[in-house]
Amino acid sequence: MSKISDFLGKSARQNVLEALERAEAKNEYHALLSLTKDRALERADAVDRGEITGRLAGVPFVVKDNFLAYGAPTTAASKILENFNAPLQATAVEKLEAEGAICIGKANLDAFAHGGSTENSAFGPTLNAFDKERVAGGSSGGSAVVTALDIVPFALGSDTGGSIREPASFNGVVGVKPTYGTVSRYGVVAMASSTDVIGCFTTDVADSELVMDIMAGQDKKDMTTLPDFFSPISDVKSGQKIGLIKEFMTDDVDTEVRALTTKYVEKLRTNGHIVEEISLPIVAHTLAMYYIIVPAEVSSNLARYDGIRYGKRSDGAKNLAQLYGMSRDEGFMTENKRRIMIGSYVLSSGFFDAYYLKAQKARTLLINDFNKLFTDYDALIGPVSPTPAFKLGENDSDPIKMYLADVMTVPASLAGLPALSVPAGNTDAGLPVGVQLIGPRRSDAKLLALAKSMEDK
């Protein structure tokens, strides 16, 4: 698979043209919603003239279509933003562009990042890079697939409850969900503000370190960014203590997923690390916390789509109430409506204490349990998802079944912890499986160094 270094020191125009050709050739996967050809070529020529230099000079990349970026609409894979041309760019995109990277297109997702398969896109699903009858995972499915298909060496995604890690696992690429607050979210369509993070997909860990190093940092346009802390480290000492989360290795989890996770654990041991089984019983309740807290935040964040200031306005509205109601009904997907309405329910007076407040207290218990483990362990490990990529249509008629695919990824999100999905091998049927490494807050560089030291071992 291609790496960032394969693109450095070459004609940027050639890099971009070839990436666009690969994107066209792989059109059937529907990983991309738009190509930003004109702007990409303009920027490539500026790189070739030496006007733009940097660590990613002439390297093509793709952003999930919930990042505001120039050159194509920012749709969030929704009807309501179908023709929305962003008046600004996300800080993450600006930082990559300042290093010479060239965005060539925008990747498919579940509308507004609500989903775990990319089947909730208003423009149709993305197909898995390894099996076209299976889902890409989600919500950043398009970004994972363009990386796995070698269309570009890296792509950006957002992760609220697993939206980078799960598709990375399903498509055999590296996916990074950093510590909450590592990368500015300015210019990214908000989903659930207390867990949304920006991260990346790459084909190896070193490339993720580079992309994260460029994107990370405090931004005065995003008051939730942490003071600068991320800096790649070259290697990790042997003897790291790692806890294997036993609740993620039960009989409910696919046999091959467990076997590949165990194989990775053995590899850690062979390389001088100490892996012990640990228990984190509260994970049995984290999905329930997540599906209260996140819809609550979704209902607030999606209140801005009103058909007035931007986005699509319903043609049929005769008065203001209809304008809101019809524009939103036509512009959102069913899953968006479910989450907004659940949010309205759990936040309404009479139910607030029983649902929302209860979930936020339970979240404290989860954080405390993680903190206790991190006094003894440097990192935790387990699978990313209970199964490899499932079949298209297999879960999309039952929201709860779809939500259960997130059971292993939401704990790190609710606690704001960094977590990686790294390839652990393929099943007998040839489907990729990822393992998840979770660390204490701000341990991102160490987690990446650990994962890097295990590659090709």
């Binding site: 008046p87 909450y180 008065n319 939103r328 409506k337 479910r338 209860k358 404290t364």
Partner: protein, 99 residues
């Protein structure tokens, strides 16, 4: 004790109103079923003892982040923002009558 939450058609319509969603009649029964199932699923949180636990609202450990009280247009002018509105007239966004 877990009480099963039953969401009625009226509940769905009330939630839709709170959410500014004018649902099509064909959507209501499906949403009633889905919302009931989701709410019944998340009720398992009742099993956790959270007495005396403080809620977590954010995970940054940051406190008030101040900025200087100066106008910043973030590099975007009025015309570009107005151009995003579905209808505008004389620097104002147009909407249908309110009443």
């Amino acid at each position: 004790m877990v009480v099963m939450t039953q969401i009625s058609i009226d509940d769905v319509q009330h939630l839709a109103q709170l959410s500014s969603l004018q649902l099509d009649d064909s959507e209501i029964e499906g949403l009633r079923n889905d919302l009931s199932n989701i709410l019944n699923y998340v009720q398992q949180l009742g099993e956790l003892d959270t007495s005396g636990v403080e809620p977590t609202y954010q995970v940054t450990d940051l406190e008030n982040v101040w900025r200087d009280d100066v106008v910043d247009d973030y590099g975007i002018d009025r015309d570009r923002l107005l151009a995003l509105a579905p209808a505008s007239d004389k620097n104002q966004i147009k909407v249908p009558k309110v009443l």
